[in-house]
C-alpha cells in the first residue's frame, strides 16, 4: 500500500526513476543468473552437455516455441492470452506447405502465405475479443480448435512434403553464420526487432498501457479496440514465422504437430517475468525463459532422465519461478 508522503522533494523520489530502472534490470539478471546456474550445473553433471553441437541443438530446439513465446509476450502484456498459437503453428505450416507443394507456388509466396495466415488468425482473435467482446481465453480457445481442424482438412490428415522446393530447408537449417543454424539466427533477430517494437514504438507503448489499465487508456482518447486487433495480429505474425521455421526444419508440414506448443510458450513468458495480469514484461525475459526451458529439457535428457520425469521437473520449475517472482513483488511493496 502506498505510504502517504509529504509534498516536498524528498530524496527517494528524486532517485525513483533510477531505482526503478535498476530494479527492472536486476529482475532480468535474476532470470539470467538462474539460466547460467542451470547451465553450469548440467555442464558439471555431464560432459556431453557442454559441447557446441549440443548447445546449438538446444538453440535449434527453442527456435519454434521461442518464436511463439515472443508473440505471446505482446498478448500477455495487454492482459490477454492466446491459446491458439500452438495449433496456429500447425495451420500456418500446412498452409505454407500446401501453397508450395500442391499449388507449386514459388519460395517467396510460401513465406508470405505463412506470415499472412498467422497475422490473419491473430487479427480474427482480436476482432472476436473487441467486437464480440469474448474473453481472450474463450476466443483463442475456439480459434485453437478451428486451426486444428482446418490444418487436418487442408492437409487431408497426411504430411505435406516441401522437398520439391529447393532450398526450403535452408531457412531453418542453413548456416549463414558457420555452425549456427539459421533458425537460431532468425529467432534472435526476431527477438531484437520485437524488443524494439515493444519498447520504442507506439504499438509497444499502447500494449503496456492497455495491460496496465484498459479503461484509463480508453478515456485518454485511444482507440483501444483497434490496437488490440493490431497487437493480436502481431502475435499471429510470430505464429506464422514459427510455422515457416517448423516446415523448413522438417522439410514438411505435419498436421498433428504443434498442439501444446502454446503452453510451452506461455510457460517461457511467465518464467521470463512477464505478469499474467498485464502491464509488465519484456522480450529479453521471454528469450531467457525459453532458454531455461530448453536447457532444462536437454540437460535432463542427457542425464538419461526419463521423459516422464522431465515433464515433472519443468512443471516444478514453473512453480518455483513464478513463486520467487511473486515473493519479490510482495517484498517490493512493503
Amino acid at each position: 500500500m502506498a505510504a502517504k508522503t509529504s509534498i516536498g522533494h524528498d530524496e527517494s523520489q528524486a532517485k525513483g526513476g533510477l531505482v526503478a530502472s535498476i530494479r527492472r534490470q536486476a529482475e532480468q539478471s535474476l532470470a539470467f543468473a538462474s539460466l547460467v546456474l542451470i547451465f553450469i550445473f548440467f555442464s558439471f553433471a555431464n560432459s556431453a552437455f557442454y559441447s557446441w553441437s549440443n548447445i546449438s541443438g538446444i538453440l535449434l530446439s527453442t527456435a519454434v516455441t521461442g518464436m511463439l513465446a515472443i508473440g505471446t509476450t505482446f498478448v500477455i502484456i495487454t492482459g490477454g492470452i492466446d491459446l491458439s498459437v500452438g495449433t496456429g503453428t500447425t495451420l500456418t505450416a500446412v498452409m505454407t506447405a500446401y501453397f508450395l507443394s500442391d499449388l507449386k507456388m514459388p519460395f517467396a509466396i510460401g513465406i508470405v502465405v505463412g506470415l499472412t495466415s498467422g497475422a490473419l488468425m491473430g487479427a480474427i482473435n482480436g476482432l472476436l475479443i473487441t467486437i464480440l467482446k469474448l474473453p481472450p481465453f474463450i476466443a483463442t480457445l475456439a480459434m485453437m480448435l478451428i486451426a486444428k481442424g482446418l490444418a487436418l482438412v487442408i492437409s487431408g490428415v497426411a504430411p505435406i512434403y516441401t522437398d520439391s522446393v529447393s532450398g526450403w530447408d535452408q531457412i531453418a537449417l542453413g548456416n549463414l553464420i558457420p555452425n549456427l543454424p539459421n533458425a537460431v539466427l532468425i529467432l534472435f533477430v526476431s527477438a531484437f526487432l520485437a524488443s524494439i517494437v515493444l519498447n520504442r514504438t507506439i504499438v509497444g507503448r499502447y500494449t503496456f498501457a492497455i495491460g496496465s489499465n484498459e479503461e484509463a487508456t480508453k478515456l485518454s482518447g485511444i482507440n483501444v479496440n483497434k490496437w488490440i486487433v493490431i497487437i493480436y495480429a502481431i502475435g499471429g505474425l510470430f505464429t506464422g514465422m514459427a510455422g515457416i521455421l517448423l516446415t523448413s526444419r522438417l522439410n514438411s508440414a505435419q498436421p498433428a504437430l504443434g498442439a501444446g506448443y502454446e503452453l510451452e510458450a506461455i510457460a517461457a513468458v511467465i518464467i521470463g517475468g512477464t505478469s499474467l495480469l498485464g502491464g509488465k514484461g519484456s522480450i529479453l525475459g521471454t528469450v531467457i525463459g525459453s532458454l531455461i526451458m530448453a536447457v532444462l529439457i536437454n540437460g535432463l535428457r542427457i542425464m538419461a532422465i526419463q521423459q516422464e520425469w522431465q515433464t515433472v521437473v519443468v512443471g516444478i520449475v514453473i512453480i518455483i519461478a513464478v513463486y520467487t517472482d511473486s515473493l519479490r513483488r510482495r517484498k517490493d511493496r512493503s
Binding site: 500500500m1 505510504a3 502517504k4 503496456f208
Partner: protein, 501 residues
C-alpha cells in the same frame, strides 16, 4: 472574466436503468471563469461532466461549444474540441511512468513517426511539471506514487492538452491543504490565460476561495446559479439539500469511559513509525491529525497487521497481543476502513448488498455455509436507508454508484460488522455535507454503545468536532495528545509541524 461564452448546456437529460441521473439541466461557462458545480452525492455532477467529455451520450438537450452545437462522441473528440477532464476516480496506467501517462496518445516521435522519442517525452513532461510547480519525477512509475501524487499527475495531464475548458471533478479530495493551495495557484493561472474551469467539490469552503459562480444540482435537476461573492455556504447547503441543515461545530457529547481497550507503547515499524504511544478507551473517539506522511495511516496498518511491527508493545483489553497479519487484527476485533476504497474497500463488480455484508458473511450464513439471503438483505437495506445511499436497489452493481455513494457503501460495510475497535481512515472523503452529518451521528452512536473508534482525518474541523481526544503526529512520531477542550486548529498545526523547519 470576459464575456466570451465557452460552453452552454441546455435541457440535457441522461437516464440509466432505474435512475434518471440528469433531467433537463443547464449550465454555462465563460472564458476566464471558474464555475463551481455542487450537489449531494448522486446529484448528477459527474454524469454531466462525462457527457461533456464524451464518455456518456446524452439522451436529449444541446451542448454549445464556442457558440456552435457539438456532439461530443468520445474522449478523442473532446480533446480535439478542447475539453479536458480530471476524473473523480484516478484513471492512470499504473505500470507506465509519469511522463508516459501524461502524454499517452500524443507521444513525441522520431524517424518519420515510426519510433517514440522518449527523451523529448521526458523533457516535455519535466517542463510541464516545472511550469506547474509540481514536484514529480517524469520517469517514476505511477503505481509507486501516493494517491496524492497520482492526483497531481492527473492534474498535469489534463492541463497538458492546453484545452479551453478544463473540468475538475473533486480534484482535492485526496490532497492536503498545501497541495490544494498549489492547485489553486494553477487554477488562477488558467483563469488568467482565458480558460474556463468547471470545479466540483464537496469541500464547500474551497468555493469561496476559487470560484466565480456556483451552480447547484439536486436529484438530477438544475436548482440555481449564484455569484460566489453574493452568497454564503449556508445558502448553498440549503439549496443542495432542499432544507436547512444545522451544521454543528461544537464537540459532541463525550461518551468515553476510563476503561482502556487498546494500549500502544513504543510502537515502531520498518517504514516510518518511531516510538508511538497512546491509549484508546471504551466509548471514545480518538482523532488522529497530522499532515500527509505524518504516519497516521501507518499506525492503522501496523495495528491491523498489514505492516510489520519492529518494536513496541500492543495491549488489547489489558492483554499483550501479537499482530502479525491481518487475520490477527480481525480476530482481536479491530476493523479498518482504508483510505483507498477502490483498492481495499470495494468489490466494484459486485452489488451493494454483497459489499455491505462482505465482512460479516459468517453472521448471515447457516451452519452449513448457506447464505441467509433475506436476512442479509434486510440489514443492507437498512444501511442504505440510514446512510441515504442513492441507489435504485441493493442489487445495483457498486461501480454504477456515484463516487460518494461508493464511499458510503464502504462505511456501511464496517458499521454492519461488529468490531469493538474501529479504525476509520479518511471516512468522509468525497461525501456531501448532509451525509457527513449522518455519519458523524452514527459514529457518536457507536461510541455511546461502547465501541472505541480511531478516526484519521485530514479535515481539522471534522477531527475537532468529533474527537474526545486528538493524537497529533509528525514524521512518524506522536507530538502531542490533546484533550478536545484545549484543542483548536492552531494548537494542532503547531504539533503537526513540530519537526519541520
Amino acid at each position: 472574466m470576459s464575456d466570451e461564452q465557452l460552453l452552454v448546456v441546455e435541457g440535457v437529460s441522461k437516464g440509466f436503468p432505474g435512475v434518471q441521473a440528469l433531467q433537463n439541466v443547464r449550465f454555462d461557462l465563460s472564458a476566464g471563469e471558474v464555475h463551481a458545480l455542487v450537489g449531494e452525492n448522486g446529484a448528477g455532477k459527474s454524469t454531466l461532466m462525462k457527457v461533456l467529455s464524451g464518455i456518456y451520450k446524452k439522451d436529449s438537450g444541446t451542448v454549445k461549444f464556442k457558440g456552435e452545437n457539438v456532439d461530443v462522441a468520445g474522449p478523442l473528440e473532446a480533446q480535439h474540441l478542447g475539453i479536458s477532464i480530471i476524473h473523480q476516480e484516478i484513471n492512470l496506467m499504473p505500470d507506465l511512468t509519469v511522463a508516459q501517462n501524461i502524454f499517452i496518445g500524443r507521444e513525441p516521435k522520431s524517424f518519420g513517426k515510426l519510433f517514440l522519442n522518449d527523451r523529448k517525452l521526458n523533457k516535455d513532461a519535466q517542463e510541464l511539471l516545472d511550469s506547474l510547480k509540481l514536484p514529480l519525477d517524469p520517469t517514476q512509475i505511477v503505481g509507486e506514487l501516493t494517491v496524492a501524487k497520482q492526483q497531481m499527475v492527473e492534474i498535469a495531464k489534463a492541463i497538458s492538452y492546453n484545452s479551453r475548458v478544463i473540468i475538475m471533478d473533486e480534484p482535492t479530495s485526496s490532497l492536503t491543504p498545501t497541495e490544494t493551495s498549489a492547485l489553486f495557484v494553477i487554477i488562477e493561472n488558467l483563469k488568467k490565460a482565458g480558460k474556463g474551469v468547471i470545479y466540483i467539490s464537496h469541500r464547500l469552503e474551497e468555493l469561496g476561495k476559487i470560484s466565480d459562480r456556483i451552480t447547484v444540482f439536486r436529484d438530477g435537476q438544475y436548482i440555481d446559479t449564484l455569484k460566489t461573492k453574493d452568497t454564503t455556504i449556508e445558502k448553498i447547503i440549503s439549496l443542495m439539500i432542499g432544507r436547512e441543515v444545522h451544521v454543528d461545530l461544537r464537540p459532541e457529547a463525550n461518551t468515553s469511559t476510563s476503561e482502556v481497550v487498546l494500549k500502544v507503547e513504543g510502537l515502531s515499524s520498518k517504514r516510518l513509525l518511531k516510538d508511538v504511544s497512546f491509549d484508546l478507551k471504551r466509548g471514545e473517539i480518538l482523532g488522529f491529525a497530522g499532515l500527509m506522511g505524518a504516519g497516521r495511516t501507518e499506525v492503522a496498518l501496523a495495528l491491523v497487521g498489514k505492516d510489520p511491527i519492529t518494536a513496541g508493545k500492543v495491549e488489547v483489553n489489558g492483554k499483550v497481543v501479537k499482530i502479525n497479519n491481518p487475520a490477527d487484527g480481525v480476530a482481536l476485533g479491530i476493523g479498518y476502513l482504508s483510505e483507498d476504497r477502490k483498492r481495499y474497500g470495494l468489490l466494484l463488480g459486485q452489488n451493494v448488498d454483497f459489499n455491505i455484508i462482505l465482512s460479516s458473511v459468517k453472521r448471515y450464513s447457516t451452519a452449513l455455509g448457506f447464505f441467509k439471503k433475506a436476512e442479509s438483505k434486510k440489514v443492507s437495506e437498512a444501511a442504505v436507508k440510514t446512510l441515504s445511499i442513492r441507489t435504485p436497489s441493493v442489487n445495483q452493481t457498486a461501480k454504477n454508484l456515484s463516487g460518494g455513494n461508493q464511499q458510503k457503501v464502504v462505511i456501511a460495510k464496517w458499521l454492519t460488522r461488529e468490531c469493538d475497535i474501529l479504525i476509520f481512515d479518511e471516512p468522509t472523503r468525497g461525501i456531501d455535507v448532509g451525509a457527513k452529518e449522518e455519519i458523524y451521528k452514527l459514529l457518536r452512536e457507536l461510541a455511546a454503545q461502547g465501541k472505541s473508534i480511531i478516526m484519521i482525518s485530514s479535515e481539522l474541523p471534522e477531527v475537532l468536532r468529533l474527537s474526545d481526544r486528538i493524537v497529533v503526529m509528525c514524521e512518524g512520531r506522536v507530538t502531542g495528545i490533546i484533550d478536545n477542550k484545549e484543542a483548536d486548529q492552531n494548537v494542532i498545526m503547531q504539533y503537526a509541524t513540530k519537526y519541520r523547519n
